[in-house]
């Protein structure tokens, strides 16, 4: 058994101990995790972006244009102040405005037009009918500006069943995902840590 395995196993068991009840062992591990994660995050952010996209272009390439986003970024720290917090709205507005601008054509193309086109399959196939009925009835379900009565109510009810199928399938896959994670950790404890099976 290596030092790496021992360290990882100790922390793994500490987290698993929460299943019995919360305890100091678990809490200590949790706080160490928070600290290590934040420290990791800090290093990656600074090394990957601040140094390579701000400091180096400014110092070595004399690219003065980066001063603008750097200053705007520094204005974000105004959020930590009680009185001057409003200054942070300026860089935030740039992020939100630019983000909104690029998202409009993307959403329209990728999520509306392409998906609508994919829903219009030949109605000679069962798939085609199911997809079209499912999409329309799901949209009807989420349309709350009209009372869901009569034919519209039946359509919305159909949408409910399509949604239940979707949630059921999602739950099945969620179980699959979570169980895989558990199997992975158990394998580590049984094979690598305890060496029960080679």
């Amino acid at each position: 058994m290596t030092v790496e395995t021992l360290v990882a196993a100790i922390f793994t068991i500490a987290i698993f101990s929460f299943l019995y009840k919360e305890n100091p062992f678990y809490r200590a591990a949790e706080h160490i995790l928070v600290g290590v994660s934040v420290g990791y995050y800090l290093v990656i952010l600074v090394e990957e972006t601040i140094l390579s996209k701000v400091a180096k272009p400014l110092i070595y390439d004399r690219n003065l244009l980066v001063i603008i986003p750097a200053v705007l970024g520094l204005l974000m720290f105004a959020r930590l102040s009680r009185n001057k917090g409003y200054i942070a709205r300026i860089p935030l507005a740039l992020l939100i405005g630019a983000g909104a601008g690029v998202s409009i054509p993307a959403m329209l193309w990728a999520r509306v037009l392409k998906q609508m086109a994919a829903s219009m399959l030949p109605l000679q196939t069962i798939s085609g009918i199911i997809i079209l009925v499912g999409v329309v009835s799901t949209l009807a379900y989420f349309y709350f500006s009209r009372e869901q009565r009569g034919w519209f109510g039946y359509m919305a009810k159909t949408g409910t069943y399509f949604l239940m199928i979707f949630f059921g399938a999602t739950f099945g896959y969620t179980v699959m995902s979570r169980v895989t994670l558990l199997i992975g950790r158990m394998e580590f404890l049984l094979y690598d840590f305890l060496g029960i099976i080679g």
């Binding site: 990656i44 990957e48 998906q115 992975g184």
Partner: protein, 267 residues
């Protein structure tokens, strides 16, 4: 004893046993290959040796046990095909994991950093990163993870945008492939193949059916299918037996709970 209201710690113990006992048997099961995994496999298989492929490690440490077999299988395929691999991460945790995995697998194939593969590192704000690479990859990543200018690597210095990339592969545990579809595929018609956590399949499926994304190889079964296509029997195959039995266990539990509740209501 009211079976429908069992103490949750009893359920935890039973669940633990349901996972541990099959693992101890160390049984490897076979899988049938599905169309979804075959799609992503064929897409990579159709690439010529020496072509560029970008692989984005879009997952966090929390999904490592599930994503590791998928990432491993995909990287094995990319290096087997002698493709020029460009790694990056759009999640901060994926950065270190991606570099570790890339280095580990590349080493097994005798691949050289800078000649056969590079690792660009991490960029935050994935929307601007994905869109920015469409204009210029080197503008978004002037340096690689090792802090060397990308232009210094002769094999990769000519990279412009997505025009030079026949394929992007996203190994994801969250919604990042949807952003690849929304931005890279919608604006630049970039082909994006996905290997994802099982939990995201139903969320991504419309994008696969509409042709915006390729794949997916999903979860541990997807990883096992990929291993089979590569004529390997690795971690994914080994874990499938425990996966199968645990699924059956949960189904049986739900049925037992419902029968117990039904009996209780009748009384």
């Amino acid at each position: 004893m009211d079976l429908s209201r069992l103490d949750r710690r009893v359920i935890f113990v039973l669940m633990g046993l349901a996972v541990i006992i099959p693992i101890l048997f160390n049984i490897t099961t076979d899988v049938e290959i599905t169309r979804d995994t075959l799609d992503i496999y064929n897409e990579i298989e159709d690439l010529e040796s020496g072509e560029f492929v970008m692989i984005s490690f879009d997952f966090e440490a929390s999904s490592y046990p599930e994503m590791y077999p998928l990432a491993l299988a995909t990287l094995n395929h990319l290096f087997k095909k002698n493709l020029k691999v460009i790694g990056l991460a759009l999640f901060s945790e994926g950065t270190a994991i991606g570099y570790t995995l890339l280095s580990e697998v590349a080493g097994r194939y005798g691949k050289q950093y800078g000649a056969d593969y590079i690792y660009l590192g991490f960029r935050p704000q994935y929307v601007s990163a994905i869109l920015g690479m469409g204009e210029s990859i080197i503008k978004v990543f002037p340096e690689d993870y090792l802090k060397r200018p990308v232009e210094e690597y002769s094999e990769f210095s000519g990279l412009s945008g997505y025009d030079d990339l026949p394929l992007v592969v996203s190994i994801a545990d969250g919604s990042m492939p949807i952003h690849w579809a929304d931005y890279a595929n919608a604006r630049y018609q970039q082909k994006v193949a996905v290997a994802c956590a099982a939990v995201m399949v139903t969320a991504f499926k419309p994008y696969f059916e509409s042709g915006q994304l390729i794949g997916p190889a999903a979860g541990i079964k997807g990883a096992a299918e990929y291993e089979k296509l590569l004529k390997q029997r690795g971690i994914a195959h080994r874990r499938l037996f425990a996966q199968s039995t645990t699924h059956v266990f949960i189904i049986v539990m739900v049925i037992v709970a419902n029968l117990a509740a039904f009996r209780g209501r009748r009384r």
